[in-house]
Symmetry: C2
DNA sequence: AGCTCTTATGAATCATTGA
DNA sequence: GTCAATGATTCATAAGAGC
């Protein structure tokens, strides 16, 4: 039987990673603490200091990533005094100076972003997913993220009412209505670099998760089974959980013991459920399922 | 009767604009040449020289823009040797140094682009629309770009009960709640900073136009009737055409006589059509309509 | 199961007030 | 004078309840 590991470590990734060898991970994917949020705990402070805070950690990421591996950084700059702050784009420039190749910028379109309207601004409905690599010859399994036409039509069409289809067509687009004819006889379609995903609701334990679908998409795209994945700011453990579900090994690191406990619970629960699948009438199943649904 | 002007000038905007007074335009919106043949005529703009080439022109834009005006720059960096080039984000940083405020970055999601892929890359389905301002107090007419509201609000409003009028505060705090009474009588919602617009096809005269909807959206958002709009790289004249349709004055500049002719044809045709509406059986109507359909 | 209807809430932003 | 805390604004989505 295949052994799968999901390791959660407490500490600052800057230090924890120093115990890992070079060229160890196939994928690093993370949604780091944004400026002014958890960054303070790491010693990082204002948006102005963000780049300086990030760079030494990125140096470790570079070292532990395999030459054909990929680093995906989900991030969005804040508005400061009416302006978009430049720390994210400055970070891109500095990471390139560090040796990273800025291969691509994916857009995560947050379909259900926070509402609000302001005198000079609309709702912010997107985030950056920056792709960095060490070399031009990185591994990419494009077929793994193809959208199966059949499934897509089945699930999506079934779930949406007629009105939703019309609305989907007019707002989100992708030529939904018009191109139905094109699907006939085709199994799969390649996606683009714009991802339409909803944020997940109902997570009361951690205010800053990305949705499962986001890491899942990148994990499928950049790794295969038994590969090793790192999330240096693992938060409540979404990346490790998804990695586990997809048969990938993972290491998650967080400085806050509170999050480490949450993440460990999550991956341990999964392991136990897998064991119980053999003896499905374990007395705690019901409770555990409830907890799973909540997170 | 109101007079509306659509002026197309031939030349390098760097020079042409020097004849315009300070604080003249309400909106500058453009999709500049990045690497096509036009760029070479401006003095050569390889990606590495792009920022240096752009900055003196941006200085003129700054001068001729009204204090409460807006500058919208539709641009997307090329892939060079497998990497996204950094000239766009470097440009943002340099424009800020020039005095511009980087207020927002809108995403134009090109929803009907061809599916396609390369060994290490998917279809690029988005472009940046960078918003810059001279001051924080710029003019913005948000109501002009509202979109039809989602379904649930309508159904919810039908059942407006007495309890709905009070404010419900969210349990988790953050000061967020909802006041349903605000939605009474509303069937439209404010958009976000992600624009889902199809690219236009069938333009054989000019390969790199943006769709009419894109300038239209920004023109409605940032100007009112009789305002003055500038497109310093006007190409085949889309911005002036849309401005004209929306009752805004415009100045379009291009270095290539070929494009200047195209753009002039376009705005002149519109003017003539407006005149002919009074005497609709002019002998050239048929031919003219054909031309209109083609563009 | 498969619908419809209801409800909570999400990595937000700005103006105002208070220290 | 600056900086931190508070209040006001607002909509798509999915889970849950009800039939």
């Amino acid at each position: 039987m295949r052994t799968l590991e999901s390791i959660i470590k407490q500490g600052d990734c800057l230090e924890v990673l120093q115990k890992y060898p070079d060229n160890y991970f196939d994928l690093i994917i993370t949604s780091p603490p944004y400026a002014d949020c958890r960054a303070k705990l790491y010693g990082g402070t204002s948006p102005d200091d963000y780049v300086e805070w990030f760079l030494p950690r990125a140096e470790q990421f570079f070292r532990v990533l395999k030459p054909a591996g990929t680093f995906v950084l989900n991030i969005k700059e804040k508005v400061v005094k009416g302006e978009r702050h430049t720390y994210v784009i400055e970070l891109i420039i500095e990471l390139r100076r560090q040796g990273w190749l800025w291969t691509e910028e994916f857009i995560w379109h947050k379909k259900n972003c926070h509402p609000g309207k302001w005198p000079n601004r609309f709702r912010d409905a997107w985030e950056r997913c920056l792709q960095f690599n060490k070399t031009r010859k990185f591994k990419m399994y494009q077929d793994a993220v193809m959208v199966p036409m059949g499934d897509w039509a089945k699930t999506r069409l079934k779930k949406l009412g007629e009105n939703d289809v019309i609305r989907f067509n007019s707002q989100v687009g992708s030529g939904f209505g018009k191109n139905i004819a094109n699907w006939v006889g085709r199994d799969k379609a390649y996606p683009s670099n714009v991802l339409h995903l909803a944020t997940e609701t109902g997570n009361r334990n951690h205010g800053a998760t990305f949705p499962h679908d986001l890491p899942e998409w990148f994990i499928k795209l950049f790794t295969k089974e038994d590969d090793w994945i790192l999330d240096p700011f693992v938060g409540c453990g979404t990346v490790c959980e998804v990695a586990q579900n997809l048969g990938r090994n993972s290491v998650g690191i967080d400085i806050l013991q509170e999050y480490v406990d949450l993440a460990r619970d999550k991956v341990n629960e999964k392991e136990m459920l897998l064991c119980e699948a053999i003896a499905p009438y374990g007395k705690n199943n019901k409770k555990r399922n409830n907890r799973l649904h909540r997170t």
